[in-house]
Symmetry: C2
Subunit: 760 residues, 2 copies
């Protein structure tokens, strides 16, 4: 359902068939693995069997001598490493070296699956066999598999050259890449004044985005130094910048051709195979394709971070939150860069709290470098905050929605971490969830006494982003309009951007012909991520379409031989101010441009520095078999502030998909590691993502609180939906069983432990 | 050599390595035949063995039943034919029906090689075998192989539904599609007043452009009706319009992806295989590729027209031309549309003549429909005019350059057919040729009395064109600039357009990254032809680059926190009007755009309705073996008004290439037909184009008479160079042997006939 009933728009808010639909369902759309050319070499990556080891030596001679092998590379072939590692680096900044070492190890490996060498061969089997023939001598070091181990006194140090920033102090020999603190008001005094203070610790395991398409990248390094990379990426320009950094080249020397993408969720922002494929290609003079297996994807691409969250909240006698403190420790994986900063921003955003302290820690461990995963950092803190809030509600006897509405952040409030809020919809979303069919319906218990049911709610926040986007529009004489954009279409970019242009132009969405192009064919466009694309690329499309209308108005004046000022444009098209007989639709005018001054072709770009965050409230009904610990979500509702839903079906799909991922993380998904640092569940058989059979139809409530920063009121909608499920489900488990689980995933064994059926 | 010695430009006039050079020389560039995909079907076209016949029946059943065959189409499957042939047609306009019938015959065939059916199969051999298994019953009609036959009283009529326009009268049952007349002054009185009048008749055979790459087109008709066509074409938008017309679809339903092109010279403006490939694809649900053999190319693509030219010129006692009359009969081939109108425009343009009459005839014959071939229509009239002028010079005893300079057209003169001349370089080019090393050097005779040498000159004209073009520029942070254009790169578009943008931007040509894109990615751009691309697309690039500079000026003001008006741009970059310390190059500023408002991305389009024509004067030295009739060009010079040479090496190449083609047409090339209408020399072995071994190094003189219509003075340079050779060589033969050959090619047999050694 859509909360606002009438639309002032003709295209926005409708549900046209997606422009790329037929290509996708007929299998014609070309993904990364569909690239082939006559002399394509296929490659294989040799990966470390150890989570932590020094590389003593690599002998590739046997591999190079094998039949069909065209070339072998190791870390020594990577430009940064080769040039002494720090030419490009500012003093103390080892990020480019880390970026290079992440894709191809230098002198040590820091996660199992870490690339150590790569082979290009005439065929895949030759490449795989040759990779196995490479002899690597390792000095195995103890792995660092948890935050507690990483920050313990005797922790093995991953990176000798990592200089930690600990509250502004430089610290050597540490696995804590950074420790920052945000403070607002006087948290100590706030807690002292509180009537009830609850403090708990939470833990959430790493989980993978689980995109269906494994990474595949093809690169060709031409003799003139131009590099073409075909890859599945969330951002072709972003990939270009990363590859340029690792290869020590100007970015324009690289053309990144974005193939269709089979899911990303943040995980296809980093590059993995691209630089190695390029370096192999330079070595052998042919294009090289490298592909990952599902195990490679699990072991060697970035999952969402795991975290340990300390959470303390105090309320006064009226239930007003007077103080809150978070202690956020996030796993960065093998190199610095967890989403802890975003976690800190999201942590207390749902509530207006006068006294806040947030400590954030970015901690390296010997696991794959984490990547963004849908609202990165936010599920962890929503789990902690919403669990403690639920406990407080129980403690003070306040209805959960009443408590949240009392404390809800509003427009103009100071965010605990971040700018002043603009037009946010915290209250509207809470009210919509509270008043929903789902929440108003009683939860009936099962007649089977071993089966317990419970209901929980949770709220989550994502900040959203703007940034750079470019759109070009060209008007065809048959009144269609081609649209060129650089934004990867993960969740419906072609439709959502085209619809915004169509709305301005006054033509049906079907008359738009969108294309996603490579980095040589459009202005810089940031990655599809941060829920920014419909917002920022849409704004660029709006600007371009507005400029097209202005140009067409001038053309209409030419056709009619009138002064430009006497022609106006409104929802019916173009007309003369003075002669009501003179009026023409956009579509008819498009057919009459001949002789009026050339093609109508407009490019517009934006760099949007402000975005409005958004909130989602989830209601989860769970059913638990107390004998086995197995749980089932039996009803689930997502209410979310979506700003303005451009294509409601896509928006609903985002809300449902993110909720499903959050449910999986809450109940089942985790990187299950053995004591040597190996992932023991690195297949879709063992890594238990919910399927459609595991979940009920997820109900959605689109709450449209328009964003005044955007001409149609758009807010990013794709990410926040993963944040609330873990807390909501933890609260539902408590409602069902009376136990609080603070270690997720809340899998059957943990439920049974909580019930005392088994011991931890 | 370049006539102007100093350049005011930094990029224009230099000779950078072409942007696509490495791709081309390493074989990476993708041409039409390089397209392949998993389920690509390969096709074969069944072609008529008769030059003229009614199709009584076609039986495809045996072909359809053959193993590997996926589908067969005939004319009945073509949309226009199927819909009763005239739905889209205005009354009396059969051009769309002709367009459809040309690519797939309807109820009759009108040239040998005319497509009658097409097959798609799993492999090429199955397709070829199946095509042979199609049974076609023909009622053979007499062919019409010459203009004289076509306009004779008892001529077989090619098209019952062709209504000729004869000086404004509609005429049925005719092979003369049109007869038009241009008159200026009083030609009868002019001839009456002349002291010397010479009237002659000339004939020039059809000749093929001889591009090295045969046509190959691949089409996929998706289930949603979207059609993608990969083809080698001079104009992707032009191809889109033609395909849309034949398929009775809106143009935007079709995406034409222009592949690299292996030569065109006008011959790759029409579509041939594209509509049939598309209709086959719709039938079988897979992409289909159709390719021509060299014989197919000769027999079934459009050569340059043959013509019969009546020419009459009268001069007064001072050698001033007082009257001229041309009777221009051009072969259209099987359907109307010869270049006779352009021939009429070019005919007398080199001279300022007060009294002129030109009659033009467009005549259908049972040979392949002619296509444009470099300055289409102009070689024929230059042959005639320059031969008669040479004869007049001999008759009145005037030096050929003196005569031409006396009569030369100048800026402000009324063209006999066409607008008032702008800044033309007739005089400058004539003087440059006259003063050249070549012309000033005496021609020495051979010591062998059987070998005779002669020298001739000729002048030719091409009108050039403007029309529509679009260019997009995007500034990268590493100070490179991507350029997107829709103009096929036949003769150096990437370089010549990029260099014009680079000149404005103040960066080296190598910092430009040009790409030629498909019809979904750029505004309408006319075909690369009419010598329009460097002129019109270059103008669009100039406009886009100028807008980029203006935007960058505003960005510099932002970076320096100055008022926009206080920042100026000059050849050194951007600077403050007031503070000499504040100055920054384009390249440095490109790296400092972060935070100034998004990517700098500009699209500009033009529709240029005026262009300036250009002249070339050629000097040919010929050596003839009077015993065998074999001739050799022993020295050859091209002087040409090139406006402003953007990339002189490319310009020289154009001058040399066109002269080589003109020399081939003058001496050897022709469609040699048997009496049934079959071409007997349809291979490169028998169709004798000059190779590099046949020709001397062709000397070039670039005369830069800047065109005030263009910001850099550009004029189209690619076409006129084919016009002068035939006349110049005819004059050289007369100089050598004292005989005038007025039937070209002037092959050995005709030389021997002229010498009376053999009889005609």
């Amino acid at each position: 359902m859509v909360a606002t009933s009438e639309s002032k728009y003709r295209v926005i808010g409708t549900r046209p068939i997606r422009h790329d639909g037929v290509e996708k369902v007929t299998g014609r759309a070309l993904y990364g693995a569909d690239i082939r050319m006559g002399d394509l070499a296929l490659g294989a990556v040799l990966r470390s069997p150890h989570a932590h080891a020094n590389i003593k030596s690599i002998d590739v001679s046997a591999a190079e001598a094998m039949p069909g092998v065209l070339g072998v590379i190791t870390g020594k072939d990577m430009p940064i490493a080769r040039s002494g590692s720090v030419d490009l680096l500012e003093e103390g900044n080892v990020s480019l070296k880390f970026a290079s070492n992440r894709v191809m190890a230098g002198d040590k490996v820091v996660f199992k699956g870490h690339p150590v060498a790569a082979v290009a061969a005439m065929d895949l089997n030759s490449a795989l066999e040759a990779a196995r023939a490479i002899k690597v001598e390792y000095e195995v070091l103890p792995p660092v598999l948890s935050i507690r181990r990483a920050i313990g006194n005797d922790a093995p140090i991953l990176h000798d050259d990592l200089v930690g920033d600990h509250l502004g102090e430089s610290v050597n020999s540490t696995n804590i890449a950074s420790h920052f603190r945000h403070e607002l008001g006087d948290p100590e005094q706030g807690f002292a004044d509180a009537k009830v203070v609850i403090e708990r610790e939470f833990e959430l395991a790493s989980a993978h985005q689980g995109y269906i398409e494994p990474q595949t990248s093809t690169a060709f390094w031409a003799p003139d130094g131009k590099i073409t990379v075909w890859t599945s990426t969330q951002g072709s320009f972003n990939a270009r910048e990363q590859i340029a950094g690792v290869l020590n080249l100007p970015p324009s020397q690289i053309k990144v051709v974005p193939m269709e993408i089979g899911g990303g969720f943040g995980g296809k922002i980093p590059v993995y195979l691209e630089p190695s494929a390029a370096v192999l290609s330079r070595k052998i003079g042919r294009p090289v394709r490298l592909s990952m297996s599902r195990t490679d994807v699990f072991e060697a691409t970035g999952p969402g971070a795991g975290a340990v969250i300390g959470m303390k909240i105090g309320v006064d006698a009226n239930g007003k939150i007077v103080a809150a403190a978070g202690d956020l420790k996030y796993e960065a994986g093998a190199y610095p860069g967890s989403p802890v900063a975003a976690g800190a921003e999201c942590c207390f955003s749902a509530y207006n709290i006068p006294n806040v302290r947030v400590d954030g820690y970015d901690i390296v461990v010997t696991k794959p470098k984490t990547a963004a995963y849908r609202a990165p950092g936010s599920p962890h803190v929503a789990f902690a905050v919403e669990s403690v809030v639920d406990e407080i509600c129980k403690e003070i006897g306040m209805e959960p929605f009443e408590f949240r509405l009392l404390n809800a952040s509003k427009q103009g409030d100071r965010r605990a971490v971040g700018p002043i809020f603009g037009r946010i919809g915290t209250t509207e979303v809470l009210e919509a969830a509270r008043d929903s069919d789902h929440y108003q319906a009683p939860l009936e218990q099962s007649s089977n006494p071993a089966i317990k049911r419970g209901r929980g709610i949770g709220i989550g926040f994502w900040r959203n982003a703007g940034r750079k986007s470019t759109v070009t529009l060209n008007v065809n004489r048959d009144s269609t309009v081609t649209l060129t954009e650089g934004s990867t279409d993960i969740g419906g970019t072609r439709a959502s951007i085209s619809m915004q242009a169509a709305e301005v132009l006054g033509i049906p969405a079907e008359k738009m012909k969108p294309t996603i192009v490579d980095t040589d064919l459009i202005g810089y466009t940031d990655a599809t991520g941060g829920s920014r694309t419909t917002y920022a690329t849409g704004h660029a499309a709006y600007n371009a379409a507005t400029a097209v209308i202005e140009e067409m108005r001038l053309r209409a004046a030419q056709v009619w031989e009138l002064e430009p000022d006497s022609v106006i444009h409104d929802e019916n098209g173009f007309s003369s101010k003075f002669d009501p007989e003179l009026n023409i639709s956009f579509e008819d005018l498009a057919g009459r441009l001949e002789g009026t001054g050339g093609p109508v072709s407009i490019t517009a770009s934006v760099d949007i520095t402000r975005a409005e965050g958004t909130f989602g409230v989830h209601i989860a009904d769970i059913e638990i078999d107390t004998e086995t610990g197995k749980s089932d979500i039996i009803r689930y509702t997502v209410a979310q502030d979506v700003g303005r839903a451009i294509h409601p079906a896509y928006v609903e799909g985002q809300l449902q998909g993110g909720a499903a991922q959050g449910i999986g993380w809450a109940l089942n998904e985790e990187y299950f590691m053995d004591s040597d640092g190996g992932m023991v569940n690195s297949s879709f058989l063992d890594y238990r993502m919910p399927t459609s059979l595991d979940l009920p139809d997820i109900e959605t409530i689109l709450v449209e609180v328009e964003n005044p920063l955007h001409p149609f009121g758009v807010k990013g909608v794709g990410e926040v939906t993963i944040a609330p499920p873990i807390g909501a489900i933890s609260n539902a488990i408590h409602d069902a069983l009376g136990i609080r689980l603070r270690n997720a995933p809340m899998k059957p064994s943990r439920i049974l432990e909580g019930l005392g059926v088994i011991s931890a």
